[in-house]
């Protein structure tokens, strides 16, 4: 056994019990135990926070922490330190609860003897060590699995690429004329190649989701484009099945606060499912409106006249790898990842996804996304104590590329780096970084709003300038930054004006101010 000195922290308010413990440990003949004793929780917590404790012996009846409260407190301060609780003879229930709350063991007062105590402490430490190890192994295995999946998906692409190349060579008649049947069979092959390709893409997306590497950049965006694009994308395949595909989007639909490419991904998934599961001559309708149950959200509805979903599986379909057993021949094709990916994408944009359905009549899929509101983004900084001389300042960082943008991807990536950096330069609760406010074709513009005075704005822009100058990634990419600020014309708050209204007024002012700046820079608003 490891004979390194074990540092025991004893928390016990009864001097008699504490003395007994000391005697037991001494009796065990173990010079390798070093006991620190405290009679109350607050002192013990102080000691624990300083570190250097291998195991805690905790009495559950302390004056300043009754029962399991003390256990929870210690566990949250030092989750890696094993705890053994001391209970009375008639309190096995509490002891069992303590184990559930993370204690490694319990000892019943009056039944403790020196060797048993020693053994309990050593076992507690050993169990804790094993738990930590198991958790580490689990994490490593998860990471290995992700790496494996990512590797396999990419390796699968090479042979798939060769199949696509040669089948398309045959289909295009580059290797000689084909009989109609041959042509038809090769087209079927080609369709399956595309299916395999999209399965591989889904597989990779899932590994990204699970590794937390999904990149989502929300901005104020209209759902109109995403919906109309999706509809036109599926017009062909719907028409081929004689399905009517239509969309109804109100003219005054407010902007959503979403990543447009991610919303598109969700829509494509849902509409492709609808086309797949709707029989010939059916109907698919897309609608969007302000959500009846929450005016802060927009809801998108995709209604089909397909085979429907049984109520008992309507929740399961959003689980990973779920496939309907009676989905028909078309429904069985696929990995069963599309709805899972959609659920994750919607959730990470602050919405929800669900389905209502009547078997044999059709399904209605719904998902919600937040409505873009400058006022609700800005209002946190307005609720603070505002001094008289303070006003609303808009800080703008212009990002320019010296030698033109290499690629759209690089530009998105660098924008993310810049936005994160700006976020870090500012003070939470006092300043707020706005999402992307325009297309930013010529240059990327980043805006922050602060409630401050001239001096504060000066300090803030100096700090931002300095941080951007120091950021190696941005400098290496050959990017230049211009930081400036300006104040909004004063927007006074009348005595009894509700905060919400005031925030709306300020938001309108900010929007106008930003529009003016963008027009001055020839950026379409």
């Amino acid at each position: 056994m490891n004979e390194k000195t074990v540092r025991v922290l004893l928390v016990e308010d009864n001097p008699g019990d504490a003395r007994l413990m000391r005697i037991f440990l001494a009796e065990a003949g173990s010079s390798a135990m070093e006991l620190k004793h405290f009679a109350c929780m607050s002192d013990a917590v102080n000691h624990l926070q300083r570190g250097g404790v291998d195991v805690v012996l905790l009495d559950l009846g302390l004056p300043d922490a009754q029962g399991l409260g003390g256990l929870r407190q210690m566990h949250s301060i030092a989750p890696g330190v094993p705890l053994v609780v001391l209970t009375g003879l008639d309190d096995e229930t509490t002891a069992a609860q303590a184990l559930q709350e993370g204690a490694q063991d319990y000892l019943i007062k009056g039944q403790i003897e020196s060797h048993g105590l020693l053994r309990a402490l050593r076992y507690a430490m050993e169990r804790q060590r094993m738990q930590v190890e198991t958790e580490q192994i689990r994490k490593q295995q998860l990471q290995l699995k992700d790496e494996f999946l990512s590797h396999v998906s990419h390796e699968l692409r090479s042979p798939l690429s060769a199949i696509y190349q040669f089948v398309s060579i045959l289909v295009d008649g580059l290797a000689g004329e084909l009989r109609p049947e041959q042509s038809e069979y090769l087209r079927i092959t080609l369709r399956n190649v595309r299916q395999l390709e999209s399965m591989i893409a889904d597989l990779l997306e899932v590994t990204r989701i699970q590794a937390g590497k999904l990149n989502i950049e929300p901005q104020g965006a209209s759902l109109r484009d995403a919906i109309t694009d999706t509809v036109s994308m599926f017009e062909g395949s719907a028409a081929a099945k004689g399905i009517t595909l239509s969309a109804n989007i109100p003219a005054d639909l407010p902007l959503a606060y979403v990543d447009p490419s991610r919303v598109r991904q969700v829509l494509i998934n849902l509409v492709s499912n609808a086309v797949k599961f709707t029989a010939k001559g059916g109907e698919i309708k897309l609608q969007t409106r302000i959500f009846e149950e929450d005016p802060g959200l927009l809801v998108v509805e995709i209604a089909d006249s397909g085979c429907g979903i049984k109520p008992e599986v309507s929740k399961l379909i959003f689980e990973r790898l779920y496939q309907a057993s009676d989905a028909g021949e078309e429904g069985r094709k696929g990995l069963g990842l599309g709805l899972y990916i959609s659920k994750e994408l919607v959730a990470r944009q602050g919405g929800n996804i669900w389905v209502t359905s009547e078997p044999q009549k059709g399904s209605n899929f719904f998902f919600t996304v937040p409505i873009f509101s400058l006022a609700s983004l800005i209002s946190p900084i307005l609720t603070n104590e505002v001094k008289l001389e303070d006003a609303i300042a808009v800080l703008v960082v212009e990002m320019d590329s010296q030698d033109g943008w290499l690629s759209p991807d690089l530009r998105i990536e660098m924008s993310n780096v810049a936005r994160t950096l700006l976020q870090r330069c500012l003070l939470p609760d006092l300043d707020v970084v706005l999402p992307k406010m325009g297309p930013g074709d010529a240059q990327e513009l980043f805006f922050a709003v602060a409630c401050t005075n001239k001096h504060g704005a000066e300090v803030m822009s100096k700090r931002v300038r300095e941080q951007f100058r120091r950021c190696e990634r941005l400098q290496q990419a050959g990017l230049t930054f211009t930081v400036s600020y300006s104040f909004l014309p004063p927007i006074s708050r009348s005595v009894n004006e509700p905060m919400g209204e005031y925030a709306e007024n300020v938001a309108a002012g900010v929007q106008e101010h930003i529009n003016t700046m963008m027009i001055a820079r020839n950026v379409p608003t």
């Binding site: 990419h154 692409r157 190349q165 290499l406 074709d441």
Partner: protein
């Protein structure tokens, strides 16, 4: 009608054969190399108008090939399209930084491939919506 010369660098003979048929059908001259070293030798010898380059190659991977091309004043002028099965999120930016005109992930749609080739060669392009991968704004 183009009779420009394209150098295909890929260690997979199936990819070389498939691209050969496809590109010849579109009136390009096609030459080949199966590894990094050979690609530089072929480029020097024939001065192709365009190089289609795989990333995972024996005797010098795609990135080192681009580095060597860049180091030579004449070869540096040849446009390069990277075509690889690798993860774009980890390789696209790196390839573009190394000087590639575009990063295409295999399998590449034929229409898109041809559009990107035409754009890189500065030829008239009738399908601009297919070339956003070319990375020029």
């Amino acid at each position: 009608m183009s009779n420009k010369t394209i150098l295909i660098v890929d260690d997979d003979p199936d990819v070389r054969l498939g691209l050969n048929i496809r590109l010849k059908a579109n009136h390009y001259n096609v030459i080949f190399a199966a590894d990094g070293m050979a690609s530089l030798a072929e480029a020097r010898k024939h001065m192709p108008d365009l190089i289609i380059l795989d990333l995972g190659l024996p005797a010098g991977d795609g990135f080192s090939v681009m580095e060597r091309l860049k180091a030579n004043d004449t070869l540096a002028l040849i446009p390069v399209i990277v075509m690889s099965a690798r993860d774009p999120s980890a390789n696209r930016e790196r390839a573009l930084k190394a000087g590639a005109k575009a990063f295409l992930q295999k399998p590449v749609d034929n229409a898109k491939l041809l559009a990107v080739i035409r754009k890189a060669l500065g030829e008239k392009d009738l399908t601009p919506h297919l070339v956003h991968d070319l990375g020029e704004v």
